[in-house]
């Protein structure tokens, strides 16, 4: 006879940066991990391919389901089938700038999506069984009302993304209080990694500078260089997502490093790692970064400005430190080094492929 039943977790957004790290962590911890992925015309499973188990294998512990946060029947079907002990809602239209172009879709997936999951828990009578983690975000603080931001800081969202995430935050609190569901919000500040999407600023920087270093690209265009963020490593942060669901009572937590750098700082750190020296000249939209040979390798493109900027975000993770015993392990320097190293490898591969006359993939925004 079998001993203890395996714990089951369901991850929405399993193909994303956090989903992949979390799946890995939960598999290590002995969970049976279920992930929801959307149907897409191109494969987008790069980040979880190393975890993939063929459906013909027996005793699989990593299982993918087709589903979509905008399709409540698919969510109810999957949750009913899996009967998860824990749900991690990481799926979202997570790009702030894109949310200005697609506010309705953003609300449908980020706000209604979270609600649909909570409703599924309720409708299926899983209020006492299934614990729910909602990926909230430091973007809720937007135009910050105090520095640093903690759990009690009032919110001031500045993008359709942040407003949709704010709805999901409140509805998570409401369902916890009204129905007694173990549901928590992790208010995560920026968390990056080599697996970050290429359109997010950190990854955009490390990828472009690596390519510039090898002569595959000339110039990197950025938006607001003065934006300040609190950047941590995604791998550290997913551990906290799991910890939040292992407490006696559900609570909301700010997760951050408590240290802040500007986009310009990030560029400088990444360039230094690659041995590129940057000389900055000009101000505002005319600011440019030149390399040692006087080539302009960084320029500002107002296209990347947001209609409403979030200038500064800095988290105060004291509560998480105190109650979860959580501290981020990776420093800013280590994060940049790891991201640059991985992007340099990819660029070297492209260089090699190109040298032999083959086409390389050029991913563009």
């Amino acid at each position: 006879m079998k001993g203890k039943q395996l714990k089951k977790a369901l991850i929405t957004g399993v193909t994303g940066q956090d989903g992949a790290y979390l799946a890995e962590l939960l598999l290590e911890k002995g969970y049976e991990v279920h992930g929801i992925k959307r149907r897409t015309s191109l494969f987008n499973t790069d980040r979880i391919d190393h975890l993939y188990q063929d459906p013909h294998e027996t005793g699989r512990r990593f299982i993918l389901h087709h589903g979509d946060l905008t399709d409540s029947s698919s969510l109810i079907r999957i949750i009913q089938q899996v009967q998860p002990d824990e749900i991690y809602n990481l799926a979202a239209q997570s790009h702030v700038a894109v949310s200005f172009e697609e506010p309705e879709y953003t609300a449908n997936s980020d706000a209604l999506g979270a609600l649909r999951l909570l409703e599924a828990i309720r409708i299926l009578g899983l209020e006492k069984k299934t614990r729910f983690y909602q990926a909230s975000t430091s973007e809720l603080y937007g135009l910050v009302q105090e520095i640093p931001q903690k759990e009690t800081t009032p919110f001031y969202p500045r993008s359709p993304y942040a407003v949709a995430k704010l709805y999901a935050y409140w509805i998570t609190v409401n369902y916890r209080e009204a129905y007694g569901i173990y549901a928590c919000n992790g208010i995560l500040f920026n968390h990056e990694s080599p697996n970050r999407g290429e359109t997010f600023v950190t990854r955009k920087i490390t990828r472009a500078l690596a390519r510039i270093k090898l002569g595959l690209q000339d110039c990197l265009f950025l938006g607001n260089l003065d934006s300040k963020r609190d950047w941590g490593h995604a791998k550290d942060y997913v551990e906290m997502q799991w910890l939040m669901l292992q407490q006696e009572t559900p609570e909301d937590f700010v997760i951050a490093t408590g240290v802040q750098y500007s986009v310009r700082d990030f560029v400088n750190a990444a360039a230094k790692e690659l041995g590129i020296s940057i000389r900055w000249e000009g101000l505002g939209v005319d600011e440019k970064g030149y390399d040692a040979n006087n080539n302009c390798i960084i320029a500002v493109d107002p296209r990347y400005f947001r209609p409403a900027e979030v200038e500064t975000l800095l988290g105060d993770p004291s509560k998480a430190k105190q109650k979860l015993g959580w501290t981020p392990r990776t420093t800013f320097g280590e994060l940049v080094t790891e991201m640059v190293r991985e992007d340099l490898k990819a660029a070297e591969r492209d260089e090699l492929v190109k040298k032999h006359g083959y086409k390389t993939m050029d991913y563009r925004e």
Binding site: S72, F100, P103, E104, A107, N108, A111, L112, L115, R116, E119, P154, F155, P157, R158, S159, P160, V163, A164, L166, Y167, W170, I171, N174, E177, A178, Y179, P307, A308
Partner: protein
């Protein structure tokens, strides 16, 4: 001639606002779902004087097409799933209509008529269990039901459209506003109805409550928590504030309320007193009607509206309750005569 488009034309506020705008010489268009327009509704008596366009806030195409047909100078977005208590059972629909409906409208304005002025109906429910009292435009939100969370969503999006695209979108954070036009499932109207039944000796009413039972059963009116207190104003006063908000130099947020707090107990007391009855003999508190999470006591600090809009309520709480009870008496007498 100025043109106005009102979403939620069939509701209490929509009908009062339409009357006000007609008086001001506007050409008034209303957006309504077919099924709500064809049923008797608050604006039925305006048929012929207003132009009704059919559509649903859940469908962006309907909204864009209504805007193209009406070519409005002003839009009043009043459409919503308007029952906070019911929003627990209808949470997704509530967000679809109250939250996403608003952004479908803002998007349509941004692309089709960016010069158009927009009034968006926010709600005091957004304050929920507010940490401070009274509440003004600066008070942080703390929504405690799906209705309130959806209203916070729309309110914040209104701000983003205003700040990011320079659209003229004013929001009215309206505290409870009632009238004889409230449908029967609203608390104040239920009380007025109960008092009228007591006066007419009706012990089992024809009309049913949200639990599917007669509103008055065995001579008793079943309510939820009697200790809740609200800032209740008169709806006709409030629609004037909506219009005023669109006549300013720039768009802003305004709290609208009377600044007076009354408990449900007070309301019952006054309503039954209007018909010389003792409410304690006819009202009971049913735990099934208590919401999963109660909102706190919200009280309006409308000083900004008083100062900038020179807006003041003109109908007192007592006058309003009296009006509502006597209107229910008339209605019930008509129905009874008709049945006899």
């Amino acid at each position: 001639m100025k043109r106005a488009l009102i979403t939620g034309i069939t509701g209490q506020d929509g009908s009062f606002l339409a009357e006000w705008l007609l008086e001001k010489g506007y050409r008034v268009f209303g957006l309504a779902r077919r099924e709500s327009w064809y049923r008797p509704n608050s604006a039925s008596h305006l048929a012929g004087r207003i132009e009704v366009l059919f559509g649903d806030m859940s469908e962006g195409v309907d909204i864009a097409s209504a805007i193209q047909d009406a070519k409005p100078d002003e839009i009043y977005n009043l459409a919503s799933q308007s029952r906070p208590g019911e929003s627990w059972a209808r949470a997704p629909e509530t967000l679809q209509v109250n939250g996403l409906g608003a952004i479908r409208l803002f998007e349509a304005v941004r692309h089709n008529c960016p010069a158009c002025r927009v009034y968006h109906a926010s709600s005091s429910e957004m304050f929920g269990q507010a940490a401070v009292s009274p509440q003004n435009e600066q008070t942080p939100f703390n929504p405690v039901n799906p209705y309130a969370a959806a209203k916070v969503y729309a309110h914040q999006m209104a701000k983003i459209y205003r700040e990011s695209y320079g659209l003229y979108i004013a929001t009215g954070i309206l505290f409870n506003h009632e009238s004889e036009r409230r449908p029967l499932h609203f608390l104040t109207q239920k009380v007025a109805y109960g008092a009228a039944c007591a006066a007419l000796g009706i012990s089992d009413s024809l009309d049913i409550n949200e639990m599917g039972r007669p509103i008055v059963q065995h001579g008793k009116l079943a309510l939820g928590n009697l200790e809740i207190a609200r800032d209740w104003g008169y709806a006709r006063d409030f629609v004037r504030a909506m219009w005023l908000m669109l006549q300013q130099e720039s768009a802003g947020d305004f709290v609208i309320g009377t600044g007076e707090l009354h408990t449900l107990r007070d309301l019952c007391e006054i309503a039954y007193r209007c018909v010389d009855k003792d409410w304690r003999e006819s009202v009971l508190s049913d735990p099934a009607l208590v919401r999963p999470l109660e909102s706190g006591q919200t009280l309006a600090d409308a000083s900004k509206a008083r100062k900038q809009l020179e807006w003041r309520p003109t109908v007192s709480f007592e006058e309003m309750v009296k009006k509502m009870v006597s209107e229910q008496m008339v209605r019930l007498k008509n129905v009874t005569n008709h049945l006899n």
